[in-house]
Amino acid sequence: MSTKTLTFVLNDPPYDSARSTTALRLVDAALKRGFDVNVFAYEGAVGLATSAQTPHANVIHGRDAQSEDHPNPKDWISALQLEARRNSLRFDWVNCGLCSDERGTGEAIAGVRRGVPADLWAFVRSSVNTLVIPTR
């Protein structure tokens, strides 16, 4: 068991609650403090890293797509991957494969891999602690 590895289990899909955003903030904080980080995206959370996410304009805000700078969670995950690489840390993100199949979730961004619950167990065994961000 590594004393500097944390595992996060995410459940919520993108754009539906603040929980996944908060989880990514915790991941960011862990990376900034020198922890290797594992993420197991379960159920709706497999949509967080979908590569086809596309920013859009917002007529109510009166901004085109460029000035709206609409965030897509996949870009936040990419930024965390970059942060990890820059700090020579391991950031391993696994999408539950069955959950992706059920939802017809498209391809994930680079660095996100398909996995199974055994990957979660491997994450847990190698981590000093595991935090589940539950859904409701």
Partner: protein
């Protein structure tokens, strides 16, 4: 059948950082802009939407900063300026220690006990 609609919003800050607004308030803006006669009732956690001085700025992952954070109170204010009536449940403000002088102007306060009469005054009530 009449089409005067009251939108009850209870869940506050649902995905607002990712959306850069509230999904229901955004839809109310769109419905209003398309001619709907609709008002809003904020209760529960959403009662906090009427608090002035909210600042959701500063979100950052690695080097990626959010440049257009949500302005929820601004969305509410914009609705009232369009003529949409925005009610907030006074009891929910009190539970959260929010004083009236901390809230936006032009929102209407309504007590829980007054809700039945308010709801009866609309043709449709949509609970989000």
């Amino acid at each position: 059948m009449g089409k005067r609609i009251l939108q009850i919003l209870t869940t506050g800050y649902r995905g607002t950082l990712e959306e850069q607004d509230d999904q229901v308030l955004w839809l109310v803006h769109m419905l209003h802009n398309n001619g709907a006669d609709t008002d809003v009732l904020l209760r529960g956690a959403a009662a906090n939407y009427v608090v002035r001085g909210q600042d959701a700025g500063g979100l950052c992952f690695g080097d990626k900063r959010q440049t257009q954070p949500p302005d929820i109170a601004g969305e509410v204010r914009a609705l009232t300026r369009k003529g949409v009536r925005v009610y907030v449940v006074l009891d929910d403000l009190k539970l959260r220690g929010i004083r009236r002088n901390e809230t936006l102007e032009d929102v209407a306060f309504v007590a829980l006990a007054e809700l039945p009469a308010l709801l009866r005054s609309y043709d449709q009530v949509w609970q989000w």
